[in-house]
Symmetry: C2
Subunit: 338 residues, 2 copies
């Protein structure tokens, strides 16, 4: 458990409540990481902590960060370091409009897709450099690193997920008309893995067109596989069209099981409402469903997922009670137990 | 004039009609570039043609491409080559919801912003390489090149535009928490130019958050300045929320005037409806307004812009006539003449 900062500890507590309700035998260790620790000690992710984390089955993370930490410190030093060190190459982000949830899109579209975002390479590799910083002749580079190994494994994972779904439709999202080298690698990887999954229909969209279709025709997507940066952007559009980042769940997976996977709501630490029991733990609880599913507890995952869906459906209308963070967690736990 | 492929020549003809209506003294040269030429000769942009183009005041481009041309050939060989060779560092894209146009966003938001997208560097530079192509050990890189010179000039241009607007609000969109080297360069350039424009309020959004706000709260943006790739993506979201890519205009500007600027609708060549007089030339005509404005004909630009707005407002409701491409061009020309 990494509660983190702001509302993080509050929502993680409710995630754990629901987890324990459906799966009483859980051992947990709490780790103090995030902005608070950084302010106190200057540490983001000490090596010893990383080694301990490796011994766990899964990580549940709330949110880290506060306005006092310079941009990039916790992102590169903690969140991305965890994703890279623990080989979280499948960054899984469901984009689903639950019944009862209002979308900002007119006409109540049906939205039910999963984005499989690559998590360990691309523009997130941290490669690049700066020359003559602070002078008129400054040059700064960012390098996107893409390997056949890294791309193929996430592409195959996405195919597997697509093959298990009703529509069996996989879309590669990239920008292969401009990023011709990486785009070519991605396109060939998809074309070459496709014959292993003859039942899956495959197509391609440039990231700009895909971003447009998220708004004008999101129903056309089923499973998307994409690069780390494009995935970052389109999953936020995905969150926006399905009721906001406050409901979006995510899993940072190493599907091989060699390293613990990490589950986290997509929202931030929201310092303005921290400690007030005002945060909605629903995205964390939905992330717990992903955690259970990843560890092979499909039936328990389905119960938590159903609890989330039922709770959201029941919130429709002005009569719905505003629950505190804890009350919402208790309600979700009760629904999950049945 | 580069009509290009598909509907390109049809919409450019109407753009020219409107241009001539408000500004009778226009000399034009037509250039045959695009998919058709490539299929016939293998040429994308011969050096001699590029040299001739340099002698013009402005370029009006329809759309290029057809499904038979491999991805990247015309993009890198023609469109991007023009932008780079002619130093089109300000890729200007208004994102405006005209009265009468239906947005896919619920609740009829007010949307009136301009995106100033850098056009000559970043991930579009074409730098990068491939090693061991086609093997399990393939590595492909894409390099984003960012210079203080290139960033500062587009940032200053965006400040100038923001200073002329009512809200005087400039937002830098980047991903400086992950792309720390380029992000730092962009952030410092904005911070250091800001004192020249004390009336402009400045803020910053990560590209993922900005993409979300385009959907949930687009009214918060006034002028955005951003990198080439982020600009590509967010302007397509911008087109989606303001009635579709069919209405979006753009200018590829060299504000110094050293090279001809290029104006083009954001839509593609739409081969399926080509030659049928079904295409809507409105985005091309709106691009002509930008062309006039760029060349210093502000009053004529305003008349064309007003014609576009009035035409869109008049299309509301089921009674609105469906006009052919030519009829729409004639109608817009008549309105612009007044
Ligand atoms: C906080 C940041 C590093 C992160 C990312 O860019 O991946 C976030 O935006 C996300 O999507 O999880
Ligand atoms: C066609 C392509 C090269 C181009 C771009 O990526 O800039 C287009 O998407 C645009 O936005 O003008």
């Amino acid at each position: 458990m990494i509660g983190g900062d702001g509302i993080g500890p509050e929502v993680v507590a409710e995630g754990l409540r629901v987890l324990r309700a459906v799966h009483p035998k859980v051992d947990t260790t709490e780790y103090d990481l995030g902005a608070r620790r950084w302010h106190q000690t200057g540490e983001t992710l000490p090596d010893a902590v990383l080694e301990e984390l490796r011994g766990h089955d899964a990580i549940l993370l709330g949110a880290v960060g506060d306005p006092g930490v310079p941009s990039g410190v916790l992102e590169r030093g903690l969140l991305l370091r965890l994703r890279f060190e623990l080989d979280h190459h499948v960054n899984l982000r469901p984009v689903r409009l639950y019944p009862g949830v209002a979308s900002p899109l007119a006409g109540d579209p049906t939205i039910d897709m999963i984005v499989v975002r690559e998590g360990t390479e691309g523009p997130y590799a941290g490669a690049g450099g700066v020359l003559r910083r602070g002078t008129p002749h400054e040059v700064a580079t960012e390098e996107s690193l893409n390997t056949r190994y890294g791309v193929e494994r996430v592409v195959r994972d996405a195919f597997r997920r697509a093959a298990r779904r009703e529509r069996r439709h996989l879309t590669l999202v990239h920008k292969n008309n401009v990023l011709t080298k990486a785009g070519d690698l991605w396109s060939r990887a998809v074309a070459e893995v496709a014959p292993e999954f003859p039942d899956v229909r495959v197509d391609y969209q440039h990231v700009d067109a895909a971003s447009m279709f998220f708004v004008t025709d999101p129903g056309r997507f089923d499973v998307i596989v994409t690069d780390n940066m494009f995935g970052d952007i389109i999953t936020d559009i995905g969150a926006a069209i399905t009721g906001g980042i406050g409901l979006a769940a995510s899993g940072n997976l190493d599907p091989s099981g060699a390293h613990p996977s990490m589950f986290e709501p997509v929202h931030g630490s929201a310092p303005d409402i921290a400690g007030k029991q005002l945060a909605d733990p629903t995205a964390t609880v939905a992330s717990v469903a992903m955690l259970l599913d990843h560890l092979g507890h499909a039936e328990e995952a389905a119960r938590v997922e159903a609890a989330v869906a039922a709770s959201l459906a029941d919130r429709v209308g002005a009569g719905a009670a505003a629950l505190s963070t804890r009350e919402r967690g208790e309600d979700l736990a009760a629904r999950a137990v049945g």
